[in-house]
Structures are given as structure tokens and as C-alpha cells.
């Protein structure tokens, strides 16, 4: 593992205020992404994964969100949370780029696709004039859009969902970023397109030695492309490790439960093991281990003490069972 | 986690002081509602005391007007008392206030956070109370002339707003004028909303030719300039309050119908409407129970703002001499009579003008507050 990871997030805490007061959407999350590797952050809705990703680039609206002191996001050692607005603007789209879930709302519907990408190119490179156009076409080509020169003059609504997502990726690549954050990039797309987009992201990563931070709720997506995986629940990371290890020998009951509740194509018709209960909202987080009310193997200790990540046989998991089991 | 608890004294019971001074415990708890409740209670009691002779006179003569005013006074006092003492009436055991909160109740909570809107609502509430109690409050009869000694008197202790050119007390005339303005405003908007909602809902739900015909009718009506039409109609027929209400109503429904139609078009496609069809409900029931309640929120906002507009339109008409006719007092015609004398008798035109400004502004504040509170984005 790289001694200085490309991106290091430590003890990130983000609070959100609404009518009922302030609650922590992200409560002490730490992870790192090394150069050229893919980290997948997996979790269900409300676990805080998107907020964590947005915090990296300082995109959390304040109010109602607030990054609490004590949090740290370091890019090659440089602290981003206290960076000047000018520096942050350089980083966004420059060293770190982001791709979002809904391509239709992330692309400006009144500007041609090529113009939007050109804007990004001009902002983050020294190219001007015709060189910009060439770069736009080459980017569109690289992301697999056929007839790129033609398509660069298209309006967003003329492209299909998959094409728009590719255009978004092209826009993100304009500044030649070292880290690409993809927040649910395939959720809105059809299954057959999903596979292709993920493959595209993976290929690009290898080609450009770019790191990829993939946020998703879909374990299958993560299994396809991630080197390492972190599982989030109720604002915390409950398990992390190398992807093949995590899927083969999950240590945390939540991870295991998630894997068991997915219909297994090899064992059709078997009753699914559902995790009882539902995800709590940030205002109602349980004491101790936040998963304990839904955990079938909870111990007494789990109600009182909140576990931090501990070494398990194949991964690291925040679960007292790891400690108890020899 | 509830923040709304029964106001408690140190012994844990509702404060006995509330019986005499409703809302006083909430006031001690630092809540604005306590101040408003207690303030209203004390104000009404002061009115009842200082105008006690007038009240007795009204009872003796038993005018319909006076009885209404008296009844309103009693009802208002009772309502304030209950409001200040509601802790007393709650059964033991606090219900989780978050359970069973309808979307309307949630909107009510959001509304209360908007201080300007609450101010507007308070002003309107005060105005309504004043209007109901006018016979009790008005110091003089609005129609009594005093040509000998009382003409064009400046505001003084005897006449808080001065007198007009015929010696009539201006304050009383402004008070009675408030009744006219508010009545016309409410009734006109009632007609406009009813008509507009019906037409818009039918057009939006039925679609096709019905929709086209109805909307083109709306366009037709929209092409008439409202004030010019009002003037023309009033010139042809005798000006009267009923006429003004009808004309204002018939010229104000078009915006509402478009609004409603747009909302119905979007709600119609929602899945719970499809589910209603799948359960076999007929179009009437679907419209009534499932579509309209979800469509009304912008209509409420439009209604509130519309009342302000109607009041302004009536004032304009009366100013032109085509609305409420003298000697009946209306804010518009008082301004008209004071217009020429704005230099030497500034009070005649100024006070009714201020009244209009305050009233319309209050409606606008409330309308804005409602719009934010009822924003469907919040209902999740």
C-alpha cells in the first residue's frame, strides 16, 4: 500500500440541520484512496456515502450542512477543507473530478454538449482555439461516443441516458484528473448500459493511472470494478477490505446480511434472508453499535459500546463479534 | 423528542393563572404565542370595559349589527380562553406530536416559522376582529353630519382621525369602510376561486376538446381589461356592492383556472391516481378525493393574494365614483372626497390610504408565507 495515499479522509463529520435540529449524516468516517486504485463505498440510502463524497470537494451546501471541525480531507497531504476558494476551484475538475447520477440534470440542457466540455477544457488546460475543439472530439471519442465530431454539436436531450453519462465522464476527464469520484454513476441506467459504463470507467482508470472513488448502493457494481470496498451504515464505515475478501468472508453482520438478501442466481427459489427492520434516520440513530437493533447476533455489549474498525480474518470490521471470536 | 409540551408550572400541572390570564404561562416560557394570546385577551377586555355603555345601548336597541358584534366578542373571548388553557383539556399522557401529522399540519408548523407571515396573519386577525366589533368600537355613527361645528377638524383626542367635509367622524367611517372592503374582497375571491377551480379541474382532467374549448374561453376572458370592463358594466347598470362583487369575481377566475389545470395535469399522472382508477373509482370520486385535495395548495396562495387585489380594485372603483356610493363609507370613496383637500385636510385621504396599504400588505405577507409553507418539495 502506498505510504502517502492520493486522497486521505480522516474522521469526517458532517452535520445537517432541519426542523428537528442538527444530526450527523456522516459520523467519523475515514478512508483513503491510493493512486490508480478503485475504492468502492457501498451503502443504502441515508448512510451518508454521497455526503462523504461531496465533502471531499467542499460541495456540501452550508447551510443546512456543516462539516464539523476535526474532519480532514487531504490530497497528497494538502488539506482541502481549509483550502482557499480559489484553490478549491482549481482542484474541482482539475486534480479531482466528479461524475453524478442523473446525467440529464448534470448537463446543462440549454448548451450543446461540446460547448460544455470545451468550457471544462479551457478552464483546466492551456489549450485555446481549435486545439480545444480537437480535444473535445478526442475526449468524446475516448468515452465511446460514435461520430464524436457530430455529437459534440448535439444538445443533451438528443442523447440517450448512457450517452449522456459518457459525455459527463468526458467532461470530467477534461482536466486530466488524478482522482475521479463517481456518485452512483450507473443507477439511472439500464443494466446492459451499466456494464459498459463501468467497463469504460475501469479502462480509463488503467489508461490514465487515475484513481476511482465509486459510490453506490449496488454490490454488483462494486464487485465488478472495485479493488477495495468500504461498507457504510448509519454514517459510519462498518467494514472495509479488499473486494474479493469482503465478498468471500464478510465479517460484519450487515455486510453478510446484504449479501444474503440478494437473490442468488445459482440458488433460485430459496427464501431470501432479509435484514429485519429498516434503516434509521440520522435523528434516531441507536446507541452503541448502530446496527444492533437489526442484528440477529447482537451481544449485550453492542447496545452500549460503539465499536471501531478491528482486524478480522479477511477484512476490517467494526463489530464486537470480531473481538469475541477467536 | 417533542418540543411542544404542555406549559407547566413547577408543580407539573397547568398554571392556574391561565384561568384569569390565558396564555400567561406560555408567556413565561418565552413563547410568542403566549404574548399574543394574553395580549388579545387583555385588549378585548379593555374594549369591553371602555365601550360598555355602547354595548348596553346596542343590547337595548337590539340591532342585528350590534348583536353580531356582541356575539363575536363573546366567541372571541371564549376562543382565546380555550387557546390559553388547552393544556388543561389534554388527556393525560402526551401523544407523540409527530404521529398523525397531516401534511396541512406540517405546513402550519412551517408557516409559523416565518415571522413576517405570522405578523401579516396577526394584522389580518386584528383587522377581522375590528371588523366584527365595529358597532362596539366605532366612537360615532359614521353617517351623522355635523355641518355647524365639526367640519374638517384635524385629528384630536375627540376625533382620533379627524372629521371629513361634512363633519362625520373619520375613524368611524374608516372602520365601517373596512367592513365593506373586506366583504367585497372575500366574496369576490370566493366566486373567482370556485369558478376557476371548477373550470380548471374539468379542463385538466377531461383533456381533449373539453380542455381546448375551456382554455380558449379563458383566453377570451383574459383579453378583457379588468378595470375598463368594471367601469363599463357599472356605468350601464346601477353601481351596488353586489354588482361589484359579481364583476370582480367574474373577472378574476381565469388565473386560478390555469393554475388548477396545470396542477391537475401533473397530479393526474401520479400513481396514486392510477391506483384509484384501478380500484374502480369513477371520475367524480377520483377528482374530489384524490386529485383536488392535492391541487389546492397554490389555489390557497392565489386566493390570499387575490383578496388583496380585489380590495385594491374596489378602492379604485370607489375612488372613481363607480363603486360604493356615498353616503356609504368605503375606503375608496373617502380617499376620493379627500383628494382635493390633500393640502389642508390631509387626514381624510391619508388614513384610509394607510388602511389599504396595511391590509393589502398583510394579505401579501400571508400569501408569501403560505407559498413557502405549502411548497410540495417539503412534503416528504
Amino acid at each position: 500500500m502506498n505510504p502517502t495515499p492520493l486522497l486521505e479522509v480522516s474522521d469526517l463529520r458532517v452535520g445537517f440541520s432541519n426542523e428537528e435540529g442538527e444530526a450527523l449524516a456522516v459520523d467519523g468516517v475515514s478512508f483513503s484512496v491510493g493512486a490508480g486504485e478503485t475504492l468502492g463505498i457501498v451503502g443504502e440510502s441515508g448512510c451518508g456515502k454521497s455526503v462523504s463524497a461531496l465533502s471531499i470537494l467542499g460541495l456540501v451546501a452550508d447551510p443546512p450542512g456543516r462539516i464539523l471541525p476535526g474532519s480532514s480531507v487531504r490530497l497528497r497531504g494538502e488539506e482541502l477543507l481549509t483550502a482557499s476558494p480559489a484553490r478549491l476551484r482549481d482542484v474541482r475538475g482539475g486534480e479531482i473530478a466528479m461524475v453524478f447520477q442523473e446525467p440529464m440534470t448534470s448537463l446543462n440542457p440549454v448548451l450543446r454538449v461540446g460547448d460544455q466540455i470545451a468550457e471544462a477544457v479551457r478552464r483546466h488546460t492551456d489549450l485555446r482555439g481549435d486545439a480545444v475543439k480537437e480535444r473535445v472530439v478526442s475526449l468524446l471519442d475516448r468515452v465511446g461516443i460514435p461520430d464524436p465530431a457530430d455529437r459534440s454539436r448535439a444538445w443533451p436531450h438528443q442523447l440517450s441516458g448512457g450517452m449522456r453519462q459518457r459525455a459527463m465522464i468526458a467532461m470530467a476527464l477534461a482536466g486530466d484528473p488524478e482522482l475521479l469520484i463517481a456518485d452512483e454513476p450507473t443507477t439511472a441506467l439500464d443494466v446492459t448500459i451499466q456494464v459498459r459504463i463501468l467497463k469504460l470507467l475501469d479502462d480509463l482508470r488503467r489508461e490514465r493511472e487515475m484513481a476511482l472513488l465509486l459510490i453506490t448502493h449496488d454490490l454488483g457494481v462494486v464487485a465488478q470494478v472495485a479493488d477495495r470496498v468500504a461498507v457504510m451504515y448509519a454514517g459510519r464505515i462498518v467494514e472495509e477490505g479488499r473486494s474479493e475478501n469482503l465478498f468471500a468472508r464478510p465479517a460484519h453482520p450487515y455486510t453478510a446480511g446484504l449479501l444474503r438478501s440478494i437473490p442468488d442466481p445459482d440458488r433460485p427459489g430459496e427464501r431470501l434472508e432479509a435484514i429485519p427492520g429498516s434503516v434509521p434516520s440520522p435523528h434516531d440513530w441507536p446507541s452503541g453499535c448502530r446496527f444492533h437493533p437489526r442484528c440477529t447476533v447482537a451481544l449485550d455489549r453492542c447496545l452500549r459500546d460503539s465499536p471501531s474498525l478491528m482486524e478480522a480474518p479477511a477484512t476490517r470490521a467494526a463489530c464486537w463479534l470480531v473481538e469475541e471470536t477467536p | 423528542m417533542s418540543k411542544r409540551t404542555v406549559p407547566e408550572s413547577h408543580s407539573g400541572q397547568p398554571d392556574p393563572l391561565d384561568i384569569v390570564f390565558p396564555g400567561i404561562s406560555a408567556l413565561f416560557a418565552g413563547r410568542l404565542s403566549g404574548a399574543l394570546t394574553l395580549g388579545s385577551w387583555l385588549s378585548l377586555l379593555a374594549v369591553a370595559w371602555f365601550r360598555r355603555r355602547r354595548i348596553l345601548d346596542l343590547l337595548a336597541v337590539s340591532q342585528w349589527d350590534g348583536i353580531l358584534a356582541l356575539l363575536s366578542l363573546v366567541v372571541l373571548l371564549a376562543a382565546i380562553w380555550v387557546a390559553g388553557n388547552r393544556g388543561r383539556f389534554r388527556s393525560t399522557g402526551l401523544r407523540d406530536p409527530r404521529v398523525g401529522r397531516s401534511p396541512m399540519a406540517l405546513a402550519g408548523r412551517r408557516f409559523r416559522r416565518h415571522h413576517q407571515a405570522v405578523l401579516g396573519l396577526a394584522l389580518l386577525a386584528a383587522l377581522t376582529v375590528v371588523t366584527l366589533l365595529t358597532p362596539v368600537l366605532a366612537p360615532f355613527d359614521p353617517d351623522t353630519l355635523n355641518l355647524a361645528t365639526g367640519r374638517l377638524l384635524a385629528p384630536s383626542a375627540a376625533h382620533w382621525m379627524g372629521t371629513d367635509e361634512l363633519g362625520r367622524d373619520l375613524l368611524s367611517r374608516v372602520l365601517y369602510g373596512a367592513r365593506i372592503s373586506l366583504t367585497i374582497g372575500f366574496l369576490a375571491v370566493l366566486i373567482a376561486i370556485t369558478l376557476g377551480t371548477a373550470i380548471g379541474a374539468v379542463a385538466g382532467y377531461a383533456g381533449g376538446w373539453t380542455d381546448t374549448i375551456l382554455m380558449r374561453t379563458v383566453d377570451l376572458f383574459l383579453s378583457f381589461p379588468r378595470i375598463v370592463l368594471l367601469i363599463t358594466v357599472v356605468a350601464v347598470f346601477e353601481p351596488s356592492i353586489a354588482l361589484i362583487v359579481v364583476v370582480l369575481g367574474l373577472t378574476g377566475w381565469m388565473g386560478v383556472s390555469r393554475l388548477v389545470r396545470g396542477q391537475v395535469l401533473s397530479v393526474r399522472e401520479r400513481e396514486y391516481v392510477q391506483a384509484a382508477h384501478a380500484l374502480g373509482y369513477g371520475p367524480g370520486r377520483v377528482l374530489r378525493r384524490h386529485i383536488l385535495p392535492n391541487v389546492l395548495t397554490p389555489v390557497i396562495v392565489a386566493a390570499t393574494l387575490g383578496i388583496g387585489n380585489a380590495i385594491l380594485a374596489e378602492a379604485a372603483l370607489s375612488y372613481l365614483g363607480l363603486g360604493v356610493q356615498p353616503p356609504t363609507a368605503s375606503w375608496g370613496n373617502i380617499i376620493q372626497s379627500g383628494g382635493d383637500r390633500i393640502i389642508d385636510a390631509w387626514w381624510i385621504a391619508t388614513f384610509p390610504g394607510l388602511a389599504i396599504v396595511l391590509t393589502v400588505m398583510s394579505f401579501n405577507l400571508v400569501g408569501d408565507g403560505l407559498r413557502d409553507a405549502l411548497d410540495p418539495r417539503h412534503v416528504e
Binding site: 443504502e44 440510502s45 441516458g161 439500464d190 443494466v191 446492459t192 451499466q194 456494464v195 448502493h217 449496488d218 454490490l219 454488483g220 464487485a223 465488478q224 473486494s243 474479493e244 465478498f247 468471500a248 446484504l258 449479501l259 438478501s261 440478494i262 437473490p263 442468488d264 442466481p265 433460485p268 427459489g269 430459496e270 427464501r271 431470501l272 434472508e273 432479509a274 435484514i275 429498516s278 434503516v279 | 409527530r98 404521529v99 398523525g100 401529522r101 397531516s102 401534511p103 396541512m104 406540517l106 401520479r270 400513481e271 396514486y272 392510477q274 391506483a275 384509484a276 382508477h277 384501478a278 380500484l279 374502480g280 370520486r285 378525493r289 384524490h290 385535495p293 392535492n294 412534503v379 416528504e380
Partner: protein, 269 residues
């Protein structure tokens, strides 16, 4: 051989949406959502209708339930053409067939309490006298795994999974024999999907229901469906017993779909 409950014969649905082109050359844009499909659903089985967005599967579901009229072809309920239904026939049909929607957030009327919504259905169809409705409401809520106190709450007080259960309770309230489930779990979190799927399967066994299960997730489909029909751009490209379709897909599109199933098992892509 008994008559299938629902049957589609050469069903077609066209939408003309808007106009494209400058004023003088306006043409109606026609979209063929469903292009001449034949389908059969037999009593007691679960038929899955699989496809991606734009395949026409949701439209087919609505056509089969008579929520929209077809442009061509016919839908037969127990041998009778929907187009020839009178009021009484429609009333019966509406009771015997129901639908559960995908979007837990748009499928419930925000202004009605859960109990109010269920009571309306019960009294409209005369399934419970006014005094018995609360009992039946409690029964329905318990049947879908919700606490009876839910009856006094509004939809916005519930989570996505719970709202889906409420939607299922609504469908069950009229005691149907067939339920069209239009992507019932697609919008739910993974851990909740399993709960709702289990519930649907249990209800089928308990109440003898027939399902038309519309989905895009093949893993889910394989888990619940007896037969599977694959739709692509408005047409059915493959149709047969689920196991056969998965083990030996005939159509290239089916094969492509199958190869896209994400498999979070031991890191095998």
C-alpha cells in the same frame, strides 16, 4: 386446459407525442410502445415481464389491466374481451385485478391516512360494513407486516419499504386474484427488497394469488417467476419457463441481458 386469467392478443399501443419540425412541416411523432404482443397468464403462476427502460413492459401491464385502451389487438379476461365490458363487468374486473407500483413515494395519496385510504376501498366495494372496516384494516396491515397503528398515519411518516407494504395492502383490500407488480422493489434499498420480495412470495402462497411481475432485475426475476417473457423495444423476444430462459436463452438480447447480471460473489465479474 383451463382458460388463462389474462390474455393479450396482438396487443399494440402507439403514442403520438408532440410535433417535430418547423411550422410548415410539422409531423406527429409516433412512438410504438407495444408492438403486437401475445401473452398469457395462468391462474396461480407468476409471470415475469423483463426488459429495460423503453421496452414497453410497464405499458403492457397497464394495457392488461385496462388502465389504458390498446391501439390494436385485444385483452381477454377469462375469455371475455375487455372492450366489451359493461359497468358491472368492469366493477368485477377492478376487484379481481390490482396493481402495485414502483415508486413508493408517488403511489400513495399524501392527504389520506393509511386507514382512510383502505377504508375507502373497502366501503366502495361493499366489502365491509362501516362498523367492520377497522377490523379489516387491522387485518390487512398485519398481513403485510405493519403495525395496526399505521392506520392513523400519513404516507410521509413511513419509509420506502413500508410504503410499498401499504401499497400492497391497498391492492389486497379488494381481495383480488391477480396482481400486476410493476417493478415493486426496484426503488427500494437492497436490505428492504428482500423483505418485500419475501412478503410477495408468502402472500402468493397464502392467498393463492397470480402475479404479473414486471422487472428489469434478472436476479429478482429468477427468484420469483415461474415463467419469464423478455421484452425489447415493444416486442416479446423470448418467452418460456424461467429456468429454460436462463439456462438456454435463444434470443441474442436475452443473452446480453443475462451476461449483465452483476454478481457480488467472490469478486467474480
Amino acid at each position: 386446459m383451463s382458460e388463462p386469467i389474462l390474455r393479450a392478443e396482438r396487443l399494440e399501443k402507439r403514442y403520438s407525442s408532440g410535433r417535430s419540425g418547423p411550422v410548415g412541416l410539422r409531423r406527429s411523432v409516433q412512438v410504438d410502445a407495444v408492438r403486437g404482443i401475445d401473452l398469457e397468464i395462468n391462474a396461480g403462476e407468476t409471470l415475469a415481464l423483463v426488459g429495460e427502460s423503453g421496452s414497453g413492459k410497464s405499458t403492457t401491464g397497464r394495457l392488461l389491466l385496462g388502465l389504458e385502451p390498446p391501439s390494436a389487438g385485444r385483452v381477454l379476461y377469462r375469455g371475455r374481451d375487455l372492450a366489451e365490458f359493461d359497468r358491472a363487468a368492469w366493477s368485477t374486473f377492478r376487484r379481481r385485478t390490482q396493481i402495485v407500483f414502483q415508486d413508493p413515494y408517488g403511489s400513495l395519496n399524501p392527504r389520506l391516512t393509511v386507514g382512510g385510504m383502505l377504508r375507502e376501498a373497502l366501503t366502495f366495494h361493499g366489502l365491509a360494513g362501516d362498523h367492520c372496516t377497522s377490523g379489516r384494516v387491522t387485518e390487512l396491515l398485519t398481513l403485510v407486516g405493519l403495525d395496526p397503528s399505521a392506520a392513523d398515519r400519513y404516507p410521509h411518516e413511513f419509509s420506502g419499504g413500508q410504503r410499498q407494504r401499504i401499497g400492497i395492502a391497498r391492492a389486497l383490500s379488494v381481495e383480488p386474484e391477480l396482481i400486476v407488480a410493476d417493478e415493486p422493489v426496484s426503488a427500494l434499498d437492497v436490505s428492504v427488497q428482500a423483505q418485500v420480495l419475501n412478503l410477495l412470495v408468502d402472500l402468493q402462497v397464502e392467498l393463492g394469488l397470480t402475479y404479473l411481475f414486471i422487472a428489469h432485475d434478472l436476479a429478482v426475476v429468477r427468484h420469483v417467476a415461474d415463467r419469464t417473457a423478455v421484452m425489447f423495444e415493444g416486442a416479446i423476444v423470448e418467452d418460456g419457463p424461467t429456468e429454460r430462459v436462463f439456462a438456454d436463452p435463444q434470443h441474442p438480447y436475452t443473452r446480453e441481458l443475462l451476461s449483465s447480471i452483476p454478481r457480488p460473489r467472490a469478486g467474480i465479474p
